[in-house]
Protein backbone atom coordinates (compact mmCIF):
# COMPACT_ATOMS: atom_id res chain seq x y z
CA UNK A 1 0.00 0.00 0.00
CA UNK A 2 1.14 3.51 -0.72
CA UNK A 3 -0.19 6.84 0.51
CA UNK A 4 0.96 9.65 -1.73
CA UNK A 5 0.71 13.31 -0.74
CA UNK A 6 1.44 15.91 -3.39
CA UNK A 7 1.87 19.65 -2.93
CA UNK A 8 -0.59 19.94 -0.09
CA UNK A 9 -1.52 23.51 0.81
CA UNK A 10 -3.84 24.87 3.44
CA UNK A 11 -4.64 28.52 3.88
CA UNK A 12 -7.09 29.71 6.50
CA UNK A 13 -9.09 32.93 6.20
CA UNK A 14 -7.27 33.88 3.05
CA UNK A 15 -4.06 34.76 4.87
CA UNK A 16 -2.89 32.19 7.41
CA UNK A 17 -0.90 29.47 5.66
CA UNK A 18 -0.90 26.35 7.74
CA UNK A 19 0.76 24.12 5.13
CA UNK A 20 3.14 25.12 2.33
CA UNK A 21 3.42 22.66 -0.57
CA UNK A 22 3.91 19.55 1.50
CA UNK A 23 4.74 16.38 -0.42
CA UNK A 24 5.66 12.91 0.80
CA UNK A 25 4.80 9.24 0.46
CA UNK A 26 4.46 6.39 2.93
CA UNK A 27 3.73 2.67 3.17
CA UNK A 28 3.12 0.16 5.96
CA UNK A 29 4.69 0.77 9.34
CA UNK A 30 4.96 3.69 11.72
CA UNK A 31 5.48 7.15 10.35
CA UNK A 32 6.37 9.87 12.82
CA UNK A 33 5.18 13.40 12.13
CA UNK A 34 7.26 15.67 14.33
CA UNK A 35 7.33 19.36 14.85
CA UNK A 36 6.86 22.11 17.38
CA UNK A 37 3.35 23.18 18.27
CA UNK A 38 1.54 25.17 15.58
CA UNK A 39 3.71 23.55 12.90
CA UNK A 40 0.67 22.35 11.01
CA UNK A 41 0.72 18.75 12.22
CA UNK A 42 -2.93 18.68 13.25
CA UNK A 43 -3.99 20.42 10.04
CA UNK A 44 -2.02 17.88 8.00
CA UNK A 45 -3.57 14.93 9.83
CA UNK A 46 -7.08 16.34 9.57
CA UNK A 47 -6.69 16.62 5.81
CA UNK A 48 -5.48 13.03 5.59
CA UNK A 49 -8.41 11.93 7.74
CA UNK A 50 -10.78 13.68 5.36
CA UNK A 51 -11.98 16.18 7.97
CA UNK A 52 -10.59 19.25 6.26
CA UNK A 53 -10.24 20.11 2.61
CA UNK A 54 -6.86 21.22 1.36
CA UNK A 55 -6.65 24.57 -0.41
CA UNK A 56 -4.53 22.87 -3.08
CA UNK A 57 -2.71 19.60 -3.73
CA UNK A 58 -3.95 16.05 -3.38
CA UNK A 59 -3.81 12.84 -1.38
CA UNK A 60 -4.06 9.41 -2.97
CA UNK A 61 -3.99 5.89 -1.67
CA UNK A 62 -2.88 3.19 -4.12
CA UNK A 63 -3.91 5.50 -6.93
CA UNK A 64 -7.32 6.46 -5.49
CA UNK A 65 -7.76 10.16 -4.89
CA UNK A 66 -9.10 11.29 -1.48
CA UNK A 67 -11.42 14.10 -2.53
CA UNK A 68 -13.22 11.92 -5.07
CA UNK A 69 -13.48 8.81 -2.92
CA UNK A 70 -14.41 10.15 0.50
CA UNK A 71 -16.53 7.20 1.56
CA UNK A 72 -13.81 4.72 0.66
CA UNK A 73 -11.30 6.66 2.71
CA UNK A 74 -13.66 6.96 5.65
CA UNK A 75 -13.93 3.18 5.72
CA UNK A 76 -10.21 2.51 5.76
CA UNK A 77 -9.11 5.24 8.16
CA UNK A 78 -9.13 5.32 11.94
CA UNK A 79 -8.48 8.74 13.45
CA UNK A 80 -7.78 9.93 16.98
CA UNK A 81 -7.77 13.73 17.36
CA UNK A 82 -5.72 15.55 19.96
CA UNK A 83 -8.74 16.27 22.08
CA UNK A 84 -11.52 13.74 22.01
CA UNK A 85 -14.76 14.35 23.84
CA UNK A 86 -17.01 11.75 25.35
CA UNK A 87 -20.41 11.83 26.95
CA UNK A 88 -19.75 11.30 30.63
CA UNK A 89 -22.76 9.15 31.27
CA UNK A 90 -22.19 6.71 28.41
CA UNK A 91 -20.37 3.50 29.14
CA UNK A 92 -17.16 2.78 27.23
CA UNK A 93 -18.89 0.02 25.35
CA UNK A 94 -21.88 2.18 24.42
CA UNK A 95 -19.60 4.92 23.14
CA UNK A 96 -17.71 2.55 20.88
CA UNK A 97 -20.94 1.05 19.66
CA UNK A 98 -22.20 4.51 18.79
CA UNK A 99 -19.04 5.30 16.85
CA UNK A 100 -19.20 1.98 15.07
CA UNK A 101 -22.68 2.91 13.87
CA UNK A 102 -21.35 6.25 12.63
CA UNK A 103 -18.66 4.37 10.76
CA UNK A 104 -21.38 2.53 8.89
CA UNK A 105 -21.23 -0.83 10.65
CA UNK A 106 -24.93 -1.59 10.63
CA UNK A 107 -24.92 -5.25 11.52
CA UNK A 108 -25.42 -5.46 15.31
CA UNK A 109 -23.57 -8.72 15.83
CA UNK A 110 -20.59 -7.55 13.83
CA UNK A 111 -20.58 -4.32 15.81
CA UNK A 112 -20.60 -6.14 19.12
CA UNK A 113 -17.71 -8.27 17.97
CA UNK A 114 -15.67 -5.30 16.73
CA UNK A 115 -16.35 -3.28 19.89
CA UNK A 116 -15.31 -6.17 22.15
CA UNK A 117 -12.21 -6.70 20.04
CA UNK A 118 -11.20 -3.05 20.18
CA UNK A 119 -11.72 -2.81 23.93
CA UNK A 120 -9.69 -5.92 24.42
CA UNK A 121 -6.77 -4.52 22.44
CA UNK A 122 -6.55 -1.51 24.72
CA UNK A 123 -7.23 -3.45 27.90
CA UNK A 124 -10.51 -1.81 28.77
CA UNK A 125 -12.68 -4.94 28.70
CA UNK A 126 -13.04 -4.90 32.48
CA UNK A 127 -14.45 -1.40 32.51
CA UNK A 128 -16.59 -1.59 29.41
CA UNK A 129 -19.80 -1.17 31.41
CA UNK A 130 -18.46 1.71 33.51
CA UNK A 131 -19.52 5.27 32.71
CA UNK A 132 -16.79 7.21 30.93
CA UNK A 133 -17.12 9.97 33.52
CA UNK A 134 -15.37 7.59 35.91
CA UNK A 135 -12.55 6.75 33.53
CA UNK A 136 -9.13 8.12 34.33
CA UNK A 137 -7.27 10.25 31.80
CA UNK A 138 -5.22 7.31 30.58
CA UNK A 139 -8.32 5.17 30.20
CA UNK A 140 -10.06 7.86 28.17
CA UNK A 141 -7.04 8.03 25.90
CA UNK A 142 -7.14 4.27 25.43
CA UNK A 143 -10.84 4.49 24.63
CA UNK A 144 -9.99 7.06 21.99
CA UNK A 145 -7.48 4.65 20.49
CA UNK A 146 -10.06 1.89 20.62
CA UNK A 147 -12.54 3.90 18.54
CA UNK A 148 -9.81 4.59 16.00
CA UNK A 149 -9.02 0.88 15.87
CA UNK A 150 -12.56 -0.29 15.21
CA UNK A 151 -12.54 -2.72 12.33
CA UNK A 152 -8.74 -2.68 11.98
CA UNK A 153 -8.26 0.32 9.71
CA UNK A 154 -5.60 0.21 7.01
CA UNK A 155 -4.53 3.73 7.89
CA UNK A 156 -4.41 4.78 11.54
CA UNK A 157 -3.96 8.47 12.21
CA UNK A 158 -3.10 9.41 15.79
CA UNK A 159 -2.64 13.03 16.82
CA UNK A 160 -0.28 13.10 19.83
CA UNK A 161 -1.62 9.83 21.26
CA UNK A 162 0.90 9.54 24.09
CA UNK A 163 0.56 13.08 25.38
CA UNK A 164 -0.49 13.12 29.03
CA UNK A 165 0.11 9.43 29.60
CA UNK A 166 2.49 8.34 32.33
CA UNK A 167 5.48 6.15 31.42
CA UNK A 168 3.67 2.89 32.21
CA UNK A 169 0.65 3.79 30.09
CA UNK A 170 2.92 5.09 27.30
CA UNK A 171 4.77 1.83 27.14
CA UNK A 172 1.58 -0.21 27.03
CA UNK A 173 0.03 1.93 24.35
CA UNK A 174 3.28 1.98 22.40
CA UNK A 175 3.15 -1.80 22.35
CA UNK A 176 -0.39 -1.81 20.95
CA UNK A 177 0.54 0.68 18.25
CA UNK A 178 3.65 -1.26 17.25
CA UNK A 179 1.56 -4.39 16.83
CA UNK A 180 -0.94 -2.70 14.53
CA UNK A 181 1.82 -1.16 12.46
CA UNK A 182 2.71 -4.65 11.31
CA UNK A 183 -0.10 -4.57 8.77
CA UNK A 184 -1.24 -0.98 8.58
CA UNK A 185 0.12 2.48 8.01
CA UNK A 186 0.21 4.28 11.35
CA UNK A 187 0.87 7.98 11.33
CA UNK A 188 1.67 9.42 14.74
CA UNK A 189 2.26 13.07 15.42
CA UNK A 190 4.34 14.20 18.35
CA UNK A 191 6.42 17.16 19.41
CA UNK A 192 8.84 15.36 21.69
CA UNK A 193 10.41 11.98 22.24
CA UNK A 194 10.30 9.57 25.11
CA UNK A 195 12.95 7.06 26.04
CA UNK A 196 10.97 4.08 24.85
CA UNK A 197 10.78 4.80 21.18
CA UNK A 198 9.09 3.34 18.14
CA UNK A 199 10.99 1.95 15.21
CA UNK A 200 9.87 4.60 12.75
CA UNK A 201 9.76 3.54 9.14
CA UNK A 202 9.90 7.16 8.20
CA UNK A 203 10.07 10.57 9.85
CA UNK A 204 8.49 13.78 8.65
CA UNK A 205 9.50 17.03 10.28
CA UNK A 206 7.17 20.01 10.01
CA UNK A 207 7.72 23.53 11.16
CA UNK A 208 5.51 26.52 10.48
CA UNK A 209 3.85 24.65 7.65
CA UNK A 210 7.03 23.62 5.86
CA UNK A 211 8.32 20.07 5.62
CA UNK A 212 11.92 20.38 6.78
CA UNK A 213 12.78 16.71 6.49
CA UNK A 214 11.47 13.40 5.32
CA UNK A 215 13.55 10.30 5.57
CA UNK A 216 14.82 7.60 7.84
CA UNK A 217 15.29 7.66 11.57
CA UNK A 218 18.98 6.87 11.13
CA UNK A 219 19.61 9.79 8.78
CA UNK A 220 17.84 12.26 11.07
CA UNK A 221 19.76 10.99 14.09
CA UNK A 222 23.02 11.25 12.14
CA UNK A 223 22.59 15.01 11.88
CA UNK A 224 23.69 15.21 15.50
CA UNK A 225 26.57 12.76 15.30
CA UNK A 226 29.70 14.24 16.84
CA UNK A 227 27.72 17.05 18.40
CA UNK A 228 26.45 15.42 21.58
CA UNK A 229 28.35 15.50 24.87
CA UNK A 230 27.64 14.11 28.29
CA UNK A 231 28.48 16.36 31.23
CA UNK A 232 28.26 15.76 34.97
CA UNK A 233 27.53 18.98 36.79
CA UNK A 234 26.06 20.52 39.92
CA UNK A 235 23.21 23.03 39.87
CA UNK A 236 25.39 26.06 39.36
CA UNK A 237 27.35 24.53 36.53
CA UNK A 238 24.04 23.53 34.97
CA UNK A 239 22.85 27.13 34.94
CA UNK A 240 26.12 28.12 33.27
CA UNK A 241 25.77 25.35 30.71
CA UNK A 242 22.18 26.26 29.93
CA UNK A 243 23.22 29.82 29.18
CA UNK A 244 25.88 28.92 26.67
CA UNK A 245 24.74 25.65 25.14
CA UNK A 246 21.68 23.69 24.26
CA UNK A 247 21.03 21.25 27.09
CA UNK A 248 19.00 18.40 25.67
CA UNK A 249 18.29 16.25 28.67
CA UNK A 250 19.20 16.12 32.33
CA UNK A 251 19.01 13.37 34.89
CA UNK A 252 19.73 13.33 38.59
CA UNK A 253 22.31 10.78 39.52
CA UNK A 254 23.99 10.43 42.86
CA UNK A 255 23.71 14.03 44.03
CA UNK A 256 24.63 15.70 40.77
CA UNK A 257 23.10 16.14 37.36
CA UNK A 258 24.09 14.25 34.23
CA UNK A 259 23.26 16.34 31.20
CA UNK A 260 23.40 15.85 27.46
CA UNK A 261 24.58 18.94 25.64
CA UNK A 262 24.62 19.90 21.98
CA UNK A 263 27.85 21.63 20.97
CA UNK A 264 30.19 21.72 18.01
CA UNK A 265 33.23 21.43 20.21
CA UNK A 266 33.77 20.08 23.70
CA UNK A 267 31.69 22.43 25.88
CA UNK A 268 33.84 22.05 29.00
CA UNK A 269 36.69 20.04 30.46
CA UNK A 270 34.68 17.14 31.86
CA UNK A 271 32.50 16.58 28.78
CA UNK A 272 32.52 13.18 27.10
CA UNK A 273 31.38 12.60 23.52
CA UNK A 274 28.38 10.26 23.29
CA UNK A 275 26.38 8.65 20.51
CA UNK A 276 23.59 10.86 19.16
CA UNK A 277 19.91 10.10 19.72
CA UNK A 278 16.96 10.79 17.46
CA UNK A 279 15.78 13.70 19.60
CA UNK A 280 19.13 15.41 19.16
CA UNK A 281 19.18 14.96 15.39
CA UNK A 282 15.74 16.57 15.36
CA UNK A 283 16.98 19.49 17.47
CA UNK A 284 19.99 20.03 15.23
CA UNK A 285 17.64 20.18 12.27
CA UNK A 286 15.45 22.75 14.01
CA UNK A 287 18.23 24.92 15.32
CA UNK A 288 20.10 25.84 12.23
CA UNK A 289 23.22 26.51 14.10
CA UNK A 290 24.64 24.83 17.17
CA UNK A 291 26.25 27.09 19.76
CA UNK A 292 29.97 27.11 20.03
Amino acid sequence: MQLQITNLMKIYNGSITALHHVSCSMGTGIVGLIGPNAAGKTTFLKILAGLEEPTAGNVSFDGLELMQNKQFFRNIIGYLPQEFGFHKTMTGEAMLDYIAVLKGIHDKKRRQHLVAEAMDWVNLSDTRKTAIGEYSFGMKRRLGIAQALLGKPRILILDEPLEGLDPGESTRLGGIISEIAGQSLVIISTHSFSNLEFGYQRLLVLRQGYMLYQGSQAALTALAEGLVWQVEADFQQMEQLKMNFKVVGAQHQDGHIVARVLAEHKPCGEAMPVKARLEEGYLVLLNDEVQR
Partner: protein
Protein backbone atom coordinates in the same frame (compact mmCIF):
# COMPACT_ATOMS: atom_id res chain seq x y z
CA UNK B 1 5.55 33.35 56.69
CA UNK B 2 3.72 31.81 53.78
CA UNK B 3 2.68 28.23 54.48
CA UNK B 4 0.19 25.76 53.11
CA UNK B 5 -0.36 22.66 55.22
CA UNK B 6 -2.17 19.42 54.47
CA UNK B 7 -3.10 17.51 57.62
CA UNK B 8 -4.15 13.91 57.23
CA UNK B 9 -6.15 14.41 54.07
CA UNK B 10 -8.41 11.50 53.27
CA UNK B 11 -10.77 11.32 50.32
CA UNK B 12 -13.13 8.46 49.68
CA UNK B 13 -15.85 8.16 47.11
CA UNK B 14 -16.83 4.62 48.01
CA UNK B 15 -16.74 3.12 51.50
CA UNK B 16 -14.02 0.59 50.78
CA UNK B 17 -11.50 2.47 48.67
CA UNK B 18 -9.61 5.71 49.26
CA UNK B 19 -8.54 8.04 46.53
CA UNK B 20 -6.32 9.78 49.08
CA UNK B 21 -5.03 8.20 52.31
CA UNK B 22 -3.64 10.33 55.11
CA UNK B 23 -1.72 12.81 53.04
CA UNK B 24 0.20 15.26 55.19
CA UNK B 25 2.76 17.85 54.18
CA UNK B 26 3.78 21.42 54.91
CA UNK B 27 4.59 23.63 51.94
CA UNK B 28 6.68 26.80 52.11
CA UNK B 29 7.67 29.16 49.28
CA UNK B 30 9.33 27.36 46.40
CA UNK B 31 8.58 25.21 43.43
CA UNK B 32 7.29 21.70 44.04
CA UNK B 33 6.34 18.88 41.77
CA UNK B 34 3.46 16.63 42.69
CA UNK B 35 4.59 13.56 40.88
CA UNK B 36 2.87 10.26 40.33
CA UNK B 37 1.33 7.94 37.78
CA UNK B 38 -2.06 8.74 36.30
CA UNK B 39 -4.81 7.80 38.73
CA UNK B 40 -2.63 8.35 41.81
CA UNK B 41 -4.87 11.10 43.13
CA UNK B 42 -2.90 14.17 42.05
CA UNK B 43 -5.89 15.99 40.59
CA UNK B 44 -8.01 15.16 43.63
CA UNK B 45 -5.32 16.48 45.98
CA UNK B 46 -4.88 19.69 43.99
CA UNK B 47 -8.63 20.28 43.95
CA UNK B 48 -8.77 19.85 47.72
CA UNK B 49 -5.85 22.24 48.11
CA UNK B 50 -7.62 24.70 45.83
CA UNK B 51 -10.65 24.62 48.08
CA UNK B 52 -13.01 23.38 45.39
CA UNK B 53 -13.33 19.84 46.69
CA UNK B 54 -13.97 18.93 50.35
CA UNK B 55 -11.85 16.14 51.84
CA UNK B 56 -13.62 13.24 53.57
CA UNK B 57 -11.48 14.08 56.58
CA UNK B 58 -8.40 16.14 57.35
CA UNK B 59 -7.73 19.85 56.98
CA UNK B 60 -5.93 22.34 54.81
CA UNK B 61 -4.37 25.31 56.58
CA UNK B 62 -3.25 28.48 54.84
CA UNK B 63 -0.91 30.57 56.96
CA UNK B 64 -2.08 28.61 59.96
CA UNK B 65 -5.77 29.10 59.37
CA UNK B 66 -8.17 26.37 58.23
CA UNK B 67 -9.37 27.22 54.76
CA UNK B 68 -12.76 25.73 55.60
CA UNK B 69 -13.42 28.72 57.81
CA UNK B 70 -13.47 31.07 54.84
CA UNK B 71 -13.14 29.47 51.43
CA UNK B 72 -13.97 32.66 49.61
CA UNK B 73 -11.14 34.59 51.21
CA UNK B 74 -8.73 31.70 50.71
CA UNK B 75 -9.53 31.40 47.02
CA UNK B 76 -8.60 35.03 46.47
CA UNK B 77 -5.04 34.09 47.31
CA UNK B 78 -4.64 31.19 44.96
CA UNK B 79 -4.44 30.60 41.25
CA UNK B 80 -5.60 27.24 39.96
CA UNK B 81 -5.34 25.62 36.56
CA UNK B 82 -7.29 22.39 36.08
CA UNK B 83 -6.08 19.66 33.74
CA UNK B 84 -8.98 20.12 31.36
CA UNK B 85 -9.83 23.74 30.91
CA UNK B 86 -12.64 24.99 28.74
CA UNK B 87 -12.85 28.18 26.73
CA UNK B 88 -15.55 29.79 24.65
CA UNK B 89 -14.11 29.30 21.16
CA UNK B 90 -15.62 32.52 19.84
CA UNK B 91 -14.02 34.72 22.48
CA UNK B 92 -10.67 36.30 21.76
CA UNK B 93 -7.87 35.53 24.18
CA UNK B 94 -7.97 39.08 25.45
CA UNK B 95 -11.71 39.10 26.07
CA UNK B 96 -11.46 35.80 27.86
CA UNK B 97 -8.70 37.04 30.16
CA UNK B 98 -10.54 40.28 30.86
CA UNK B 99 -13.59 38.24 31.78
CA UNK B 100 -11.60 36.06 34.17
CA UNK B 101 -9.93 39.13 35.65
CA UNK B 102 -13.33 40.61 36.44
CA UNK B 103 -14.46 37.31 38.00
CA UNK B 104 -11.39 37.44 40.20
CA UNK B 105 -12.28 40.94 41.32
CA UNK B 106 -9.34 42.72 39.77
CA UNK B 107 -10.22 46.42 39.29
CA UNK B 108 -10.96 47.56 35.74
CA UNK B 109 -8.23 50.15 35.93
CA UNK B 110 -5.64 47.44 36.52
CA UNK B 111 -6.50 44.35 34.58
CA UNK B 112 -5.88 45.34 30.95
CA UNK B 113 -2.24 46.12 31.70
CA UNK B 114 -1.93 43.06 33.88
CA UNK B 115 -3.32 40.82 31.13
CA UNK B 116 -0.87 42.26 28.63
CA UNK B 117 2.06 41.87 31.02
CA UNK B 118 1.47 38.24 31.90
CA UNK B 119 0.58 37.33 28.33
CA UNK B 120 3.94 38.73 27.25
CA UNK B 121 5.83 36.67 29.84
CA UNK B 122 4.08 33.49 28.76
CA UNK B 123 4.51 34.32 25.09
CA UNK B 124 0.89 34.55 23.97
CA UNK B 125 0.43 38.31 23.56
CA UNK B 126 0.64 38.23 19.76
CA UNK B 127 -2.37 35.92 19.64
CA UNK B 128 -4.58 37.73 22.15
CA UNK B 129 -6.88 39.26 19.60
CA UNK B 130 -7.57 36.03 17.77
CA UNK B 131 -10.54 33.85 18.66
CA UNK B 132 -9.50 31.02 20.97
CA UNK B 133 -11.15 28.49 18.67
CA UNK B 134 -8.28 29.05 16.27
CA UNK B 135 -5.50 28.68 18.81
CA UNK B 136 -3.41 25.51 18.86
CA UNK B 137 -3.69 23.20 21.88
CA UNK B 138 -0.29 24.29 23.18
CA UNK B 139 -1.27 27.95 23.03
CA UNK B 140 -4.55 27.28 24.78
CA UNK B 141 -2.73 25.58 27.59
CA UNK B 142 -0.52 28.61 27.95
CA UNK B 143 -3.64 30.76 28.04
CA UNK B 144 -4.83 28.68 30.97
CA UNK B 145 -1.59 29.42 32.77
CA UNK B 146 -2.01 33.14 32.18
CA UNK B 147 -5.46 33.12 33.77
CA UNK B 148 -4.09 31.38 36.88
CA UNK B 149 -1.50 34.12 37.28
CA UNK B 150 -3.76 37.14 36.83
CA UNK B 151 -4.47 37.97 40.47
CA UNK B 152 -0.82 37.53 41.44
CA UNK B 153 -1.61 34.73 43.88
CA UNK B 154 0.56 33.55 46.76
CA UNK B 155 -0.21 29.97 45.89
CA UNK B 156 -0.28 28.53 42.40
CA UNK B 157 -1.73 25.11 41.81
CA UNK B 158 -1.28 23.80 38.28
CA UNK B 159 -2.61 20.42 37.21
CA UNK B 160 -0.32 18.96 34.56
CA UNK B 161 0.46 22.33 32.99
CA UNK B 162 3.01 20.96 30.53
CA UNK B 163 0.80 18.47 28.71
CA UNK B 164 0.65 19.26 25.03
CA UNK B 165 3.54 21.71 25.16
CA UNK B 166 6.55 21.19 22.93
CA UNK B 167 10.11 21.35 24.34
CA UNK B 168 10.55 25.08 23.59
CA UNK B 169 7.28 25.99 25.27
CA UNK B 170 8.13 23.83 28.27
CA UNK B 171 11.47 25.54 28.68
CA UNK B 172 9.89 28.99 28.53
CA UNK B 173 7.41 28.08 31.22
CA UNK B 174 9.91 26.33 33.43
CA UNK B 175 12.10 29.41 33.41
CA UNK B 176 9.13 31.59 34.24
CA UNK B 177 7.99 29.38 37.13
CA UNK B 178 11.51 29.32 38.45
CA UNK B 179 11.47 33.09 38.80
CA UNK B 180 7.99 33.22 40.32
CA UNK B 181 8.70 30.59 42.93
CA UNK B 182 11.02 32.68 45.06
CA UNK B 183 8.09 34.31 46.85
CA UNK B 184 5.25 31.96 46.20
CA UNK B 185 4.24 28.37 46.75
CA UNK B 186 3.96 26.76 43.34
CA UNK B 187 2.82 23.18 43.02
CA UNK B 188 2.68 21.58 39.58
CA UNK B 189 1.54 18.05 39.08
CA UNK B 190 3.10 15.82 36.47
CA UNK B 191 3.34 12.18 35.58
CA UNK B 192 6.67 12.59 33.85
CA UNK B 193 9.81 12.66 35.95
CA UNK B 194 11.80 14.72 33.47
CA UNK B 195 9.49 17.72 33.90
CA UNK B 196 10.90 20.49 36.06
CA UNK B 197 13.73 18.25 37.14
CA UNK B 198 16.51 20.80 37.13
CA UNK B 199 15.05 23.43 39.39
CA UNK B 200 12.47 21.87 41.64
CA UNK B 201 12.78 22.55 45.36
CA UNK B 202 11.04 19.35 46.29
CA UNK B 203 9.06 16.40 45.08
CA UNK B 204 5.87 14.97 46.53
CA UNK B 205 5.43 11.50 45.14
CA UNK B 206 1.87 10.26 45.22
CA UNK B 207 1.12 6.65 44.35
CA UNK B 208 -2.30 5.12 44.81
CA UNK B 209 -3.43 7.93 47.06
CA UNK B 210 -0.46 7.63 49.40
CA UNK B 211 2.32 10.15 49.78
CA UNK B 212 5.32 7.87 49.34
CA UNK B 213 8.00 10.51 49.35
CA UNK B 214 8.33 14.18 50.25
CA UNK B 215 11.73 15.79 49.99
CA UNK B 216 14.47 16.94 47.70
CA UNK B 217 14.74 15.06 44.47
CA UNK B 218 18.29 13.81 45.13
CA UNK B 219 17.08 12.10 48.29
CA UNK B 220 14.86 9.78 46.27
CA UNK B 221 17.82 7.53 45.55
CA UNK B 222 18.76 7.10 49.23
CA UNK B 223 17.22 3.64 49.46
CA UNK B 224 18.22 2.35 46.07
CA UNK B 225 21.74 1.02 46.56
CA UNK B 226 22.19 -2.42 45.10
CA UNK B 227 18.85 -2.36 43.36
CA UNK B 228 19.73 -1.02 39.92
CA UNK B 229 21.29 -3.03 37.10
CA UNK B 230 22.54 -2.29 33.61
CA UNK B 231 22.33 -4.62 30.61
CA UNK B 232 23.17 -4.24 26.94
CA UNK B 233 21.37 -6.73 24.71
CA UNK B 234 19.98 -7.18 21.18
CA UNK B 235 16.75 -5.23 20.69
CA UNK B 236 14.46 -8.27 20.49
CA UNK B 237 15.78 -9.58 23.80
CA UNK B 238 15.30 -6.07 25.16
CA UNK B 239 11.56 -6.34 24.52
CA UNK B 240 11.43 -9.64 26.36
CA UNK B 241 13.33 -8.26 29.30
CA UNK B 242 11.04 -5.22 29.45
CA UNK B 243 8.04 -7.49 29.80
CA UNK B 244 9.58 -9.67 32.50
CA UNK B 245 11.48 -7.18 34.60
CA UNK B 246 10.92 -3.70 35.96
CA UNK B 247 12.70 -1.42 33.51
CA UNK B 248 13.26 2.24 34.35
CA UNK B 249 14.83 3.13 31.04
CA UNK B 250 15.50 1.44 27.75
CA UNK B 251 17.30 2.99 24.87
CA UNK B 252 17.49 1.20 21.53
CA UNK B 253 19.80 2.26 18.74
CA UNK B 254 20.82 0.15 15.75
CA UNK B 255 19.25 -2.95 17.23
CA UNK B 256 21.08 -2.82 20.54
CA UNK B 257 19.11 -1.96 23.65
CA UNK B 258 20.63 -0.45 26.75
CA UNK B 259 18.41 -1.27 29.67
CA UNK B 260 18.27 -0.15 33.28
CA UNK B 261 16.56 -2.75 35.43
CA UNK B 262 15.29 -2.14 38.94
CA UNK B 263 15.27 -5.21 41.15
CA UNK B 264 16.00 -6.16 44.77
CA UNK B 265 18.17 -9.01 43.54
CA UNK B 266 20.41 -9.45 40.53
CA UNK B 267 18.44 -10.43 37.41
CA UNK B 268 19.61 -13.58 35.65
CA UNK B 269 20.53 -11.90 32.39
CA UNK B 270 23.87 -12.52 30.73
CA UNK B 271 26.26 -9.61 31.14
CA UNK B 272 24.12 -7.69 33.63
CA UNK B 273 26.04 -5.56 36.11
CA UNK B 274 25.14 -3.32 39.09
CA UNK B 275 25.12 0.43 38.54
CA UNK B 276 24.66 3.70 40.46
CA UNK B 277 20.98 4.41 41.07
CA UNK B 278 19.44 7.49 39.50
CA UNK B 279 16.27 9.35 40.34
CA UNK B 280 14.31 7.70 37.57
CA UNK B 281 15.22 4.27 38.89
CA UNK B 282 14.00 5.26 42.35
CA UNK B 283 10.78 6.66 40.95
CA UNK B 284 10.09 3.50 38.95
CA UNK B 285 10.81 1.34 41.98
CA UNK B 286 8.63 3.29 44.42
CA UNK B 287 5.73 3.47 42.01
CA UNK B 288 5.76 -0.26 41.33
CA UNK B 289 6.04 -1.06 45.05
CA UNK B 290 2.93 0.96 45.85
CA UNK B 291 0.97 0.25 42.73
CA UNK B 292 -1.51 -2.28 44.03
CA UNK B 293 -4.03 -1.12 46.64
Amino acid sequence: MLTLEMENIVKKYKADSSVLSHVSATMRPGFFVLLGPNGAGKTTLLRIMAGILRPSSGTILFNGQEISQNYKQYKQNIGYLPQEFGFYPDMTGRNFLHYIARLKGIPASLYPARVEEIAQCIGVSTFLDRKIGGWSVGLRRRLGIVQALLADPDVLLLDEPLIGLDPEEKLLLENYFSQLATERIIICSSNILADFITFTDGVLLLVNGKLCFNGRIEELTDVMDGKVWLAEVPAKLGQVIASKWLVSEMYTVENISQIRIVSDSMPDIAGVRPTQPGVKDAYTYIVRRNDSP
